[in-house]
Amino acid sequence: MNRVNDIAGVFRIQLASMRREIGPFLLAAIVFPSAMYLFANAVSGAEAPQNRLRFLAGSIVFSLSLTSISWLGYLLLENRFTGRLKLFATLPIAPSSYVFGVLIFALAQAALGTTTLMLVGRVFGAQVRPNFSLLIVVVFLTILSLCGLGVIIAARARSFSEGSLWTDTLGAGLVLLAPIYYAPEMMPRGLRVFAQLLPTSFAARALQTTLTGGHAIGVELFGLSVTAVITLALGFHLMKWREE
């Protein structure tokens, strides 16, 4: 019960902070990804109708990536380098409660971003017939994998500026490197294999399938699960509550 109380406390603090500064969240989770969806539709011209679902899935992944790595990573870095993490460390709470509180906050943001983007997609012509239960699982695993990267960066960065650079680069870079807004065949051969293994690639393929009501996403779920376990385990390991 204490653990639940601690996790809820961390969540409440993040939520109250965000309510007073919602601009960056709206930009990262909704405005940029929506703009990318419309941009991709515009540049694909006559091929737009058959690509709309791919673009929408890509934009949702873009939203999740910016929310989890860029925005959340930034908050974690801020907590660490402004001494707020030290304030948590003075309390009788476990480090895992802190991380889970932040993760639940990220999931809440993801739910809001994904729902809004699906509405945007619908308004702008995407034929969405989602398999909701699978969609929730995909979003959940995507958030866990990407948040794990955010935690690793926040734990390892030597300075706030270095960490911010990493979160910004990875938040957008992992989306641009994955074949989300373009076909995989358009990538250089060597990069193609690497790109297919990115969590953003697994997420985009899984989302595209679930948005059409499909469920053949075993490989993608496996890939996302493995990435989530690895990144979160490493993040937990690196995040020091107690210095040596």
Binding site: G9, N79, K86, L87, T90, R242
Partner: protein, 320 residues
């Protein structure tokens, strides 16, 4: 009881204290034994510190900046793992069972950040919940602490609009939430104006009157003298003296300090057995600019280390 026993045999603990503590070996709130902290680069931040604090005492750890006070307190609060030695807080081994030990503590770190986008009240209420208080109790406890620390008018303000002193008071208040039996305050009044500093002293005294034991670090001599029951002086990572103010002053066998300028204009200090002896010295050496005062903690530090105590409040002393 190995840790307290070893603490008593340490050479840097005052003999008066040994007797007092030995008569009540079970009554220790905090017992630290041979605490050593050596960083990876070889820096010895704490070198064999041993001390014990009884329930309800205020113990001030005094020393200039960089002496090792914060390193010592960070080990007590479980934030930093000691290289060797033991720490026992109210029967709990701090090194082996950090989470249980932390439940006994209210901690004010020297440097910690607050949430700029939360209000003062939100800070207190959210952090009270972490300490296991119910929603209603958290609200009333927050009000009580804000009143005590003079923050009630700022309750609805965002922290980003507050001054450094107000932020410092919030950090002290967060440590007091939930009435923990042990308060560990790292330089709690640094950066506060004199009136606020006295207010914080009163808050700490009230907490002690309610049953809390307090360990605080400070580089203000006056704070250590006026607030604490026992004072530990740390210099270059070593606890060079520990005891009550009177016990420490007894180390300056000549209890009057004569400060003067010599013929070359240099500031000098000489210790004398009595006021009359100091006056005779003035007459003998035909001193024109001088002052005679009772010896203080500063003089104890000077006597023990051979160096003047340097911080922003200390006067300049030069060895004669």
């Amino acid at each position: 009881m190995a840790a307290p026993l070893k603490a008593l045999t340490s050479d840097n603990v005052d003999p008066h204290r040994r007797i007092a503590t030995a008569s009540q070996p079970d009554a220790l709130a905090v017992s630290v034994c041979d605490l050593v902290k050596t960083y990876r680069d070889g820096t010895e931040a704490n070198r064999g510190i041993s001390l014990s604090v009884r329930p309800g005492e205020i113990c001030a750890i005094l020393g200039p900046n960089g002496a090792g006070k914060t390193t010592f307190l960070r080990q007590l609060t479980t934030e930093l793992r000691p290289t060797s030695g033991s720490i026992n807080v109210m029967g709990v081994d701090v090194i082996a069972d950090a989470s249980r030990a932390k439940k006994l503590m209210g901690i004010t770190p020297q440097e910690a950040g607050l949430f700029d986008r939360l209000t003062v009240r939100e800070h207190f209420e959210y952090f009270a919940r972490f300490k296991g208080l119910s929603k209603n109790t958290a609200h009333s406890a927050s009000t009580e602490i804000m009143l005590k620390l003079g923050l009630i008018a700022e309750g609805k303000k965002l922290v980003r609009s507050l001054s450094g002193g107000q932020r410092r008071r919030i950090l002290i208040g967060l440590a007091l939430l939930g009435r923990p039996p042990l308060l560990i305050l790292d330089e709690p009044t640094t950066g506060l104006d004199p009136a606020t500093r006295r207010r914080v002293w009163q808050v700490i005294r009230n907490a002690v009157a309610d049953g809390a034991t307090t360990i605080l670090s400070t580089h203000y001599m006056e704070e250590a003298q006026r607030l604490s029951d026992r004072i530990g002086i740390i210099s270059e990572g070593e606890l060079i003296a520990y005891g009550t103010l009177n016990e420490l002053l007894a180390r300056v066998d000549r209890s009057y300090r004569l400060s003067y300028q010599d013929r070359s204009g240099e500031d000098c200090v000489r210790f004398c057995e009595s006021f009359a002896a100091a006056q005779r010295c003035v007459e003998r050496e035909l001193l024109s600019e001088y002052s005679i005062a009772r010896a203080s903690l500063e003089d104890v530090y000077f006597r023990l280390t051979g160096s003047p105590y340097r911080d922003e409040t200390a006067e300049a002393h030069e060895p004669r």
